[in-house]
């Protein structure tokens, strides 16, 4: 089952993430706090990219005089 394999691979990646960041040693509520913080920060970064990327790209193209 391709979905089963993908799920196994994903859970191995999650296990590696948990080992490398030492979340493996923390209790479940501490993991929740850390994951929430991480997802919040990542979501804010993605949102900022989404809002500001068109302006930045237009500014770059304007600088290189590709578009007026």
């Amino acid at each position: 089952m391709a979905l089963g394999d993908a799920w196994k691979q994903l859970s191995w990646f999650y296990y590696q993430y948990v080992l490398v960041t030492a979340l493996y040693m923390l209790e479940p509520w501490e993991r929740t706090i850390f994951n929430s913080l991480l997802i919040t920060v990542a979501a804010m970064a993605v949102y900022t990219c989404y809002v500001f990327m068109p302006q930045h790209i237009m500014a770059i193209l304007h600088y290189f005089e590709v578009v007026q």
Binding site: L19, T21, A22, Y24, E30
Partner: protein, 541 residues
């Protein structure tokens, strides 16, 4: 502690094999000093791993502060020791880093240590299973006993940790005849004829004039170094010496100078400075210069460069104190230790110290040397005056196992065990390096440290190996530098090849699961014959 990249410590020829530098020491290298190749490697910590390890310690520290805050403000119940209310204004006891580390990092993975076993720790043992409901603060027995866990952690180098056989029978007989306790110190009523026989046998085993035995290995070092050196003497001690040597050196109130681990240039520089400048303020010559080193360093698996140390010692007229705790019985053709391994004369080493805990599976330590030195120690050692002597069953165990190793009991069991240990060591190390783990130390040392680096992987490794029925010892911060945590395997002559193969397969599986195969120096599978030009074609893949 920054390590050098893959370096072999011998001035041999460099043969570049497909772009990978492989320094091999040929037998005739370096003139007369080394009669055999000395291949030792400490691979450099990969930069990404070091950064990730520091990051994981940072996350653990932040959560540690959070938990300490919660304990302080009574949001969470405090399980650790704390000062009483009346002592709150005194100097704080539990605020230093060691206690912080113990409370917040060690406690979380504590179940990999102090596991109770309930059988003789031979090649396999039985483990009493424990579980914890409150994250390792307290443990309960589940009632199950895990049977036949392969033992990769005991210092059982020659496999004498057994409850059947000549050693156990002899110890049983002498217990029935003499009892267990001696109830006296060596200088009072504790000197039995068995002790004197053991000392004669130990002296002939080591090749020295005379030897003395003590009841505890740690106390042998810490109580005898103060008897040998004192104020006005200089101690040159290796960076990674054991706590007993450090304690003995500090108790002796001599000046202590530390040189880099196994580094002969550093040692020579210190010796030259000591002789040229003398004592710190008065510039008088030092009364004695004593070099403290170990035969095999158990955290690194490195072997002392004994020929060079002895050459230096003779040139600068210093004395050498060699602690052969791990190397006696484990190295050398006849198990006589690191002196025989290098083919040197035991009379060159001034004080040969060792323990009976590791290869002889007993307890206690010995000091061997010239007759006048040992006679001096008999009267002046703190251990002889204040500590109880070795108890008789232990003396019997050592006598029987030593006779077995020397071949005096008429069998070749001892010799075959020494050979099996050497084969097991070489095989295990080679296979681990081929799998791609970072292994420290000399190719001939039966102590195999495998690097794990991250604290979470240290805990996970112990647990995963136990799930698969293999018992390993993980070592972390206070014993090693903080980012260099490792798992330390001790090879034994009692391990059969099937056990080692099973252990290696499991280690490989766990290594893939935890992503531990960090080594970037791809070691080629070993050749069965010496390297020459015609073997290039085989290695093209």
């Amino acid at each position: 502690l920054v390590r050098d990249p893959l370096v072999t410590m011998c001035n041999g020829n460099e043969s570049v094999l497909m772009g990978i530098a492989l320094q091999v020491c040929h037998a005739a290298c370096n003139g007369e000093l080394y009669s055999r190749p000395f291949i030792e490697s400490f691979e450099e910590t990969p930069m990404l791993l070091a950064v990730l390890t520091y990051m994981s310690y940072g996350i653990l520290t932040i959560f540690g502060y959070l938990r300490d805050f919660m304990r302080e403000w009574k949001i969470e119940k405090c399980h650790t020791a704390r000062e009483r209310e009346e002592q709150k204004d005194f100097v704080p006891l539990y605020q230093d880093f060691e206690n912080f580390y113990t409370r917040n990092i060690y406690m979380r993975i504590r179940d990999s240590w102090n596991r109770p076993i309930c059988s003789v720790p031979g090649a396999t043992f039985d483990l009493v299973e424990c579980s914890s409901n409150d994250y390792n603060w307290t443990f309960e027995y589940t009632g199950r006993v895990v049977k036949d866990v392969i033992n990769l952690g005991s210092y059982n180098y020659l496999g004498f940790a057994e409850n059947t056989g000549a050693c156990a029978t002899a110890a049983g007989e002498v217990t029935v005849k003499f009892g267990v306790g001696v109830a006296s110190t060596r200088q009072e009523m504790g000197n039995l004829d068995r002790h004197e026989e053991l000392e004669k046998l130990a002296a002939s085993f080591l090749g020295v004039e005379s030897a003395m035995v003590f009841g505890m290995g740690f106390a042998t070092n810490s109580m005898n170094i103060p008897a040998l050196v004192g104020k006005g003497c200089l101690i040159l001690s290796d960076e990674l010496n054991h706590a007993s040597l450090v304690l003995g050196a500090r108790l002796s109130s001599s000046t202590i100078r530390v040189f880099k681990h196994n580094n002969m240039q550093s040692l020579e520089k210190l010796l030259r400075d000591a002789i040229v400048h003398g004592q710190p303020r008065t510039h008088r010559p030092w009364k004695k210069i004593l070099i403290l080193m170990e035969g095999i360093y158990s955290m690194e698996g490195s072997i002392i460069r004994l020929p060079e140390v002895i050459a230096l010692k003779k040139k600068y007229k210093a004395y050498l104190y060699l602690d052969e705790a791990h190397s006696i019985g484990a190295l050398g053709l006849n198990g006589r230790g690191v002196v025989e391994y290098f083919g040197l004369d035991p009379k060159d080493v001034d004080v040969m110290m060792g323990t009976f805990t590791k290869s002889f599976s007993a307890a206690g330590g010995y000091v061997g040397g010239r007759k006048d030195l040992i006679d001096y120690l008999r009267t002046h050692s703190h251990s002889a005056i204040y500590a109880t002597t070795m108890s008789l069953p232990v003396v019997e165990q050592i006598l029987t196992s030593m006779k077995c190793i020397m071949g005096k009991d008429g069998t070749t069991i001892g010799l075959s065990r020494i050979q099996r240990l050497a084969e097991n060591t070489v095989y295990f190390r080679r296979r681990l390096q081929e799998m791609g783990f970072i292994i420290y130390g000399n190719n001939d040392s039966p102590v195999v440290p495998m690097m794990l680096y991250m604290p979470a992987k240290l805990g996970a490794f112990g647990r995963e190996m136990l799930k698969r029925n293999i018992g390993v010892v993980g070592v972390g911060f206070p014993a090693t530098p903080i980012i260099e945590s490792r798992a330390r395997f001790c090879i034994s002559a009692a391990h059969t090849k099937e056990m080692l193969d099973r252990a290696l397969d499991v280690i490989s599986e766990v290594g893939d699961l935890l992503h531990l195969k960090y080594s970037r120096h791809k070691v080629l599978p070993s050749l069965d014959r010496p390297f020459d030009e015609t073997t290039y074609e085989e290695n093209e893949e």
